[in-house]
């Protein structure tokens, strides 16, 4: 993440933070949730700003 602070001067202050992610698909995550024991694993779109995966514990 680059965060550029505009100081109003000719030069800006820039901070950078680095991390790493696994670009894992929702399908794979749903399968892993089932392997962990959750049932009725499903996907909910259009309510939260990201897709939600929900699993139940019976």
């Amino acid at each position: 993440m680059y965060i550029v602070e505009d100081t109003g001067n000719d030069n800006c202050n820039t901070r950078v933070m680095r991390s790493q992610y696994y670009a894992v698909s929702i399908e794979v995550l749903m399968n892993i949730m089932q392997k962990a024991g959750f049932t009725d694993v499903s996907r909910i779109d259009d309510i939260f700003y990201q897709p939600i995966i929900i699993g139940k514990k019976l």
């Binding site: 680095r18 992610y21 995550l29 892993i32 949730m33 514990k57």
Partner: protein
Amino acid sequence: MLYSKGKTINIEEFYKKLTPFYHLLYPNWEQSISKQAVQLEEIFTNNIDGDVTTILDVSCGIGTQSLGLAMKGYSVSASDLSSHEVRRAIKKAEKRKLDINFSVANMKSAYEHHQKQFDIVLSLDNAVPHLLNDDDILKAFKEFFLCTKQGGSCLISVRDYANEDLTKTQVKTYGLRNDGEKKYLLFQTWEFHNNIYVYS
């Protein structure tokens, strides 16, 4: 472990540096707290049988969802890997006079840490893909399962990588943010190494 410019990437260090600016990821973080709590409650109502009273957030960050859900009256426990984020979340809760049980814990040892079960277990804001392989994700999900009461549910929110081009470096702009008298521009780059990417 991947490297960037010869340096090791450390997730604790990443969140330590991001914590003071985390609210800038949102156009209006304060509004997002309330808005997301309403959205999550709608999901609970539509998808969960029985009452929801207790919630565990295993990747609470600075408390975006935990604060809003506690404001709605849920009994919330919240943990995160980043002690810096948790400290900021505690201050936000104190300011709002909310009683949230915050602690520092790795989601891969959520049950070992909390030793308790909840109606709902949450891990939102694309936290799970910080785990870099399926085995680590399975380990975390097994802990989430142990933390979930019988009849309860677990909710994960993630980026939909099916909608992203993973074949080349991506540049993502978050936008321009005014914060008090200061102005910030936020953007990210994603550099791929197969299905793992360095996020800068």
